[in-house]
Amino acid sequence: MKNKYSIFSLIKNAFSYHENWQRAWRDPEPKKEYDVIIIGGGGHGLATAYYLAKKHNMSNIAVVEKGWIGGGNTGRNTTIIRSNYLWDASAGLYDHALKIWESLSQELNYNVMFSQRGVMNLAHNLQDVRDLKRRTHANRLNGIDAVYLNTEEVKKFCPIINTSPNIRYPVLGGTLQKRAGTARHDAVAWGYARGADAMGVDIIQNCEVKGIKKNGDSIEGIETTKGFIKTKKIGVVAAGHSSVIASMVDLKLPLESKPLQALVSEPVKPIIDTVIMSNAVHAYISQSDKGELVIGAGTDAYVSYTQRGSHDVVEGTLKAILELYPIFSRMKMLRQWGGIVDICPDASPIISKTHIKGLYFNCGWGTGGFKATPGSGDLFAHTIANDEPHKLNADFNINRFVSGDLVDEHGAAAVAH
């Protein structure tokens, strides 16, 4: 049984110099057999295990992770959460997640620092203006809060933006989703890990999957660096490495893995109290609670698993940032890193069963998976437990690439992919 985190537990533990806090999750050796094994201990994988245990009464579950939990893209993203997607299928999926975010800290008894500080998307040319207005209308029809702002309203919402008509790509307007915002990415992984562990889920770190054993068209288990583990159901949530896992069963996925970069500046006093994204010039920026500017750059245009990314991509992003926010011209960048994102041809995820019985994939989140973490876990757990998709992820099946019924969010989402 996990002790409850509260103001009282904080005071109590202060008396023992915070040296006697209970372990947040165990460090078990793998059992011989599990009912379900989740491959990948990021936010999505841990959330899947959590909801399998919580909503589907399963407890014999393992999450295997080759590194440490939350060490992949969960710890590398720019923590932006929003649901202002154009198409109905995407709006349903991402707003489902956003609704869970709104009460997630209470549910997990873990402060994920969800902050609904709003996300503003800028328009820089006439087509942007039309697209953003269209998306605003589509959002409102789907019950998602969205408003269109003109240039003065953009300036009023974020006074440091350069709205001069003389810059290369002037700000012609923007959209605002007030329910959107940010969360503490590490806390999401840790909160779900603690919650899942409390319900008996084994989180096995430093355990790399080396192969998948199957008999005909059904799953028998996985070969790992900690030996063979028997199971009949596998949920793969391996992000950039999904194709690597899929190749173990000779399955090809419609994915390309590319480095996506982000960077943070030195910490400064509060200057930007929202999240601002720009599709056309590809620059997005927010400020962390520590005071660092958190800046997201683009992906490299070639397949790579190097987790670093190219300098010219960062340079392009920073040029755009400086044109939009001249006030940052003397800021020093503190850290830069890359994560490997798995991008689908239609820039929408796959949450689906496969033709192999007992093998499920949750992948293709590309450049925007963090925001969907709770919803993704919830729907993937439903798909695994029932061997059928939930109605919210039915459109995100792998067969859409055969039927042609794509969820084409390329450029239609609030930011370029």
């Binding site: 090809k252 419609p254 245009a301 070639y302 397949v303 190097t306 190219s310 055969v402 042609g404």
Partner: protein
Amino acid sequence: MFLINCPYCGERDQSEFTAGGEAHIVRPKQPTELSDDQWAEFLFMRKNIKGVQFERWNHAHGCRKWFNIVRDTSNDKIHAIYKMGDKPPIK
């Protein structure tokens, strides 16, 4: 970020080039005969290899010619470069 030795122009920065994805995917000879599954395979399914991969690249900001590269995607090291139509120099 790395250097690419264009077979026509010599060594240039990678940012001058455009990646064209997996190489040696042959366009179906009789497209009308293809099933939906075969179309999906041709259009969308990719090996997306972590390791040595065969790729098409275009020197977009140079000679604008297409050619092939054998590259290790786990460390971005290039093993071979060969012209379109040539047989891959390594397996």
